[in-house]
Structures are given as C-alpha cells and as structure tokens.
Symmetry: D3
Subunit: 133 residues, 6 copies
C-alpha cells in the first residue's frame, strides 16, 4: 500500500512533517479551535500535512512555490496563509528571489493588484526574518 493510500498512517506522517516545519502547531490549533470544532486540529494535521504535503512525486520546495502562486492569484484574502507558506518556502531552501519571481509571474493570471499585494506580504516575511533581498 502506497503511503498516499494508507488512511491510517497519514496522521502520523502529517504529524512528523507539521512538527518539523511548524513545531507546536497542532497544539496551538487545538487550544484555539477544537472546543468549537471538535477534531479541527487533527484534521488539519492529517489532511493538509499527511494526505497532501507529505505525498511523494514532487519535492517540498516546488509544492510550496506552487502554493504561493495559487494564493497570490486568489488574491489578498489569504494573506495570513500566504505569509506562512512564504516562510515555509524559505525554510526548505527557496530564495527570496525565487519566491518573488513566482509571485511576479502571477501578474499574468491574477492581475497587477494581486501581484503587488502578494509581493508586499513577501517583503514583510523577508524583513521579519532578516533575509536580504
């Protein structure tokens, strides 16, 4: 059974990946959301990390650049998540230039305003992390 099709172990794989990328995330989500939506934190770890990001076939850096592209094109409504994914992309070796190039390219699909807004979000992340442009 391939990892992707093993519905039991996706939680374990997702947990390992989420703790590596974002330590303490599930606990933080549980504290904020689970009283309202029981199981939300576990669902995110299991689904987003275990069933999608932990899949084989494409490296993590390309997955994150693709995510940044999509969130840019979708527009500023996903700004917090865009910043998280930009930080994650930096953490797996993407450079500020690569991230910025992908965002800039999205002008073609999401228009200039969406591009500029995403680039502003990226600059905030680069500044927060002291990454030279």
């Amino acid at each position: 059974m391939s990892p992707a099709t093993d519905h039991i172990n996706t939680y374990a794989r997702g947990k390992a990946l989420s703790e590596a990328v974002n330590p303490g995330m599930e606990d933080a989500l549980r504290g904020r959301y689970d009283a309202l939506v029981p199981g939300l934190s576990e669902t995110i770890v299991d689904v987003a990390y275990g069933k999608f990001y932990a899949r084989d076939g494409v490296d993590e850096k390309t997955r994150l650049l693709a995510t940044i592209a999509a969130l840019t094109a979708l527009g500023g409504q996903t700004r917090p998540q865009l910043k998280i994914n930009i930080a994650s992309a930096l953490s797996v070796g993407a450079t500020p230039q690569e991230i910025s190039e992908i965002i800039f390219q999205m002008t073609l699909y999401g228009g200039f305003p969406a591009m500029i807004n995403a680039l502003n979000a990226a600059i905030e992340v680069f500044d927060e992390q002291g990454v030279a442009a």
Copy 2:
C-alpha cells in the same frame, strides 16, 4: 542592464520563446484578434513571454507548475489556458504525475471541485498526447 529591465528587447526574447514553445502563435493571434484590438498579438508575445516567462531566476518547469497551480485554484473559468500550460509543462519535461500532484495539492486552497475539474482537463491533455499516466 539586466534582460528583465530592457524594454526594447523583451519582444525579441518573447518571440524566440513563444516560437519555441508554440510555433506560429503570434500569427494566429494576429489573424484572430488584431483587427479588433490593434497590437494584441504583439503585446502577448512581448509581455507574457518576453517580460515574464523569459525572465531569469526560476526554471521554466517550475514556472509552468506554478501556473498550473494558480489556474487550478482559480477554477474552471481558465480551462483553455490550463490545458495549454499543461501541454507546455509536458514539453519542458514535467511528468503527468508531477502535474497531477500539483493539481491534487490545490484541493487545500481551491477546494475539491476546482481540483477535480483541473484533473479532468489534465487527463484530456494526456490523452490527446498519448502520454501514459
């Protein structure tokens, strides 16, 4: 002056790239659209190809996977362009599996319907090109 900032030569670079990827494209666009919108075909070659896709800093395959991600998340309204970019991604060495993985990942950002619709578009391209999944 870096290639990206040389507004004179972006047309020449865009023309070379568009003819390599999609021979005859500018002529086809000119025949269909330029009587109505003078210069449309040249603008697409100059802007989309010359000022964006021909830039340095990110390889063409990653650029195309990022585009596929964005068009998937934006939804089925960009189906014709999604199919063109899937074909282009195949032509620069992306595999059907890589393309499909990136589309599948977009479930997290565009939802299940957008993902399934994009995967159906990809399957059409793979079938048209006789590419085994």
Copy 3:
C-alpha cells in the same frame, strides 16, 4: 398576489424585518450613504430584506447558515458582512457549534485558508457576545 411578487409591499415587509433584526439600520445607512447614492438605504431594505430575506419557503435560520456558507467560501473579502450574518444567525437561534460546523464544512469548497479566516471572524462574534463555544 404572493408576497414575493408584490413589488409595492416588499419595502414594508423588508422594513419590518430589518428593524426586528437590526434596529435603526436604514437610518444609519441613509446617514452614511444616501447623499452620495440617493436611495441606497431604501434599496437595501426593499431588496435585501423585502425581496429576499422576507420570502417564504425556507426558514430564516437556514437562510442565514446558507449565507454564512457562501461568505466563507467567497473568502475574507466579505468579513464585515460575515460577522453581521453570524450575529444574525445567533439571534434567530443558531448555536455557535452549528455556525462553526457550517464554516468548517466549507473547507471542501473554499479551501483551508478561507475556512480558518471565517472561523476567526466567528470567534470574534462569539467573544463579543459572550457566547460560550
């Protein structure tokens, strides 16, 4: 003539409903917007409340949960309106858990970022109203 097709009385019905749900709303809208867009306040009362929300056929709670679903999936751009509709849903008897469940379900159609952003808006409303989750 059914209420829905009586274009004269939709204003009266809309006024009664809007005052019940949100006392003083038309006056507030008139003060802020009507100098610029004559009739805006009356149009909102007549159209949104009189011609849509006051219709028969579906109870108000289901209408409001459907609205919350749509605004969640549309993304954070409608955050102020999302909060107003969450407050209205509470006022007609929806529980925080029901509202949160509907928002959580929208992960499937609007993606995880849209869901989390909407849930954060809901938590703000619940906190402002002192509603225990």
Copy 4:
C-alpha cells in the same frame, strides 16, 4: 422623492427600460423560472432594471461598459451575461472597438486568460450581429 428612492415606481421604470432593450424579457423569465421561484421575473425587472440601470447620474453606455469590464474580470463563469451586455452595449451605441478596448484593459486586473475568454465572447456577438470589427 427622487426616482431612485421611490420604491413603488421602480418597477414601472424598470419595465419600460427592459422592454426597450430586450422586448419580452419579463415574460420569458416568468415562463421559465416563476413556478420555481415566485416573483423572480418581477424582481429582476424591478431591481436590476428599475433600481439600478434606470438610475440617473451615469449614461447607459458607460454603465454597460462598466458591466462588461466587471464580467470580464470576474471570469468566464458569467459568459452568457457577458454576451447579453455586449449586445446591449452595441444597441446603445458602443462600437466593437470600444467594447474590445475595455475588455483588453481588463488584462491588468483579471489576467490574460480572463481577457481572451471575454474577447472570444465578444467576437461571437459581433459575428452573430454581423458587426464589422
């Protein structure tokens, strides 16, 4: 009372405008939709035509070009309505070139795919009406 704020007479004004632009529209809508949604046809005449398009302050041609701009940027999902508004714009004196220019400009806000899809819709209308580009 200004026309825009007179909720009784917006139906009459909307009816006059809709019959001028699109004779028989309310009857066609009634036959198709009102059994399912009582009053839908009257609501469209009263609201869309009476409370919005029949307002003073901006001429009809500019209103229609603005609508074409919005529907282009929103993407192909509104193709049938885009075609109707392009036909209406022609009927109030907009030229194919003006319509095409406005669509082309939307590249900046909706991206190239949205622009090309809208231009294709416009060409269909121009061809159906035998309007030379």
Copy 5:
C-alpha cells in the same frame, strides 16, 4: 474520542455515507484517477465524506443547502459539483422550492448572473429526475 477526531475510523464512516448517497462512487473515482494520483479516491471518501459530511452537529439537509449556497456564489465554475449536490439534497428530502429559494437568495452575495446560472443547473437536475417544480 469523538467521531470527528478519530482519524482511523473516518474512512469507514465516510465509506458508509458515500455508498448510501452515491453507490459505487469510490470505485468510479479509483478507475478514473488513481493511476495518476494514487489514493485520490480513498482521500475523497475519507476526507470529504468521513471528516466533513459525516460529522455531527448539523443535519445533512442543512449541510447540503449550505453547499448549494456556496457553489452558487462561487459561480458556474463548479457546475458539475453543484448538480451533484442538488441531487443529493433532493435525496435527503429538500424540495425543489427550498433548493431554488437558497439559490435565489445568493443573488445578494454572488450577483444575478451566478444566481441564474445555478438555477439553470437546478432545473436540469429537476428535469432529469422528473421532479415537478
């Protein structure tokens, strides 16, 4: 452990629900997609059905009306999924009138074109199933 937080058994619950609503769905998805995206069919059963639709707290009919609302507001790009959810809503007891009312209400959030397009999709489903409007 509440059902929603038990990542092992969501597949079983999702399988039971998906087979009840749409017999043979997982097999059909597996045959079409899993060679390309290993585990896609299982992920849909586990996630969409097991981790979202099978949750407690809101009845299935309200969940489906909320989904119809969201897909209407998101626009025609999700037409195939809209039709599936309309059929599902009928199967759990929603009437054509209730479904149509929810769609009509979305005029307020997604605009008239999105509403009309969704209502046309609903009429197709009602006609296919011989359900009198």
Copy 6:
C-alpha cells in the same frame, strides 16, 4: 505602425502618462521592489501605462470607471488599487456621484457586500481629498 503595436515606444508613452497622473511613481516602485524583482517598476510603466492605459479608442475617464467597476466586483482584496483608481478618476474629471453610481451598480454582479466595501473605500478617498459628496 500604430502606437499600440510599437513595443519600443510604449515605455516612453507609459512614462509620460504615469508621471502626469502619479508623479514619481516609477522611482517609488523601483526603490521598493526592483532589488527583489529586477525591472518591476519599468514593467509596470511600460505595460500597465504604456500598453494599456495609453491606448487610443476609449477616453481615460471611461477606462477608469471601468476599472473601478472591475475592482469593485472582484471584492475587497484589491482595496489599495481601488482607492488609487478612484483618485485617478477624480483627477480626470469623474465626479464623486459618477464614481459612486458605478460602484452601486456593481451590486448586480458582485453582490451587496462587495458594493458596500467599495463605497467605503470611495468615501475614504473623497474625505481625504475634501471632495463634497
């Protein structure tokens, strides 16, 4: 060669237009973005201003009202750009009433929340500029 098809001189025309409407813009963009995305400032001047706004066929005021319509319908994610275009529309002679009418009309295509959010942005611009409504 028509202006629109002369890829060499679009930069010069775009520069003249952008300096007239927004003095110092290219320098400001260069200072903020070009280290990260070489050539971004020049691309915006050349493309947005030179290849789109400086085209013949539609007057600048209509172009700006069309842009305001599109940004309204696209929703609050483009608020900064909406405000810039509202200011530009004022500067070429559009009145607050005309701008507000176009925004109000977008209720029909983007829904009430998008309209109200855009009108709030417009009021901010009118207040900043001391323009009486």
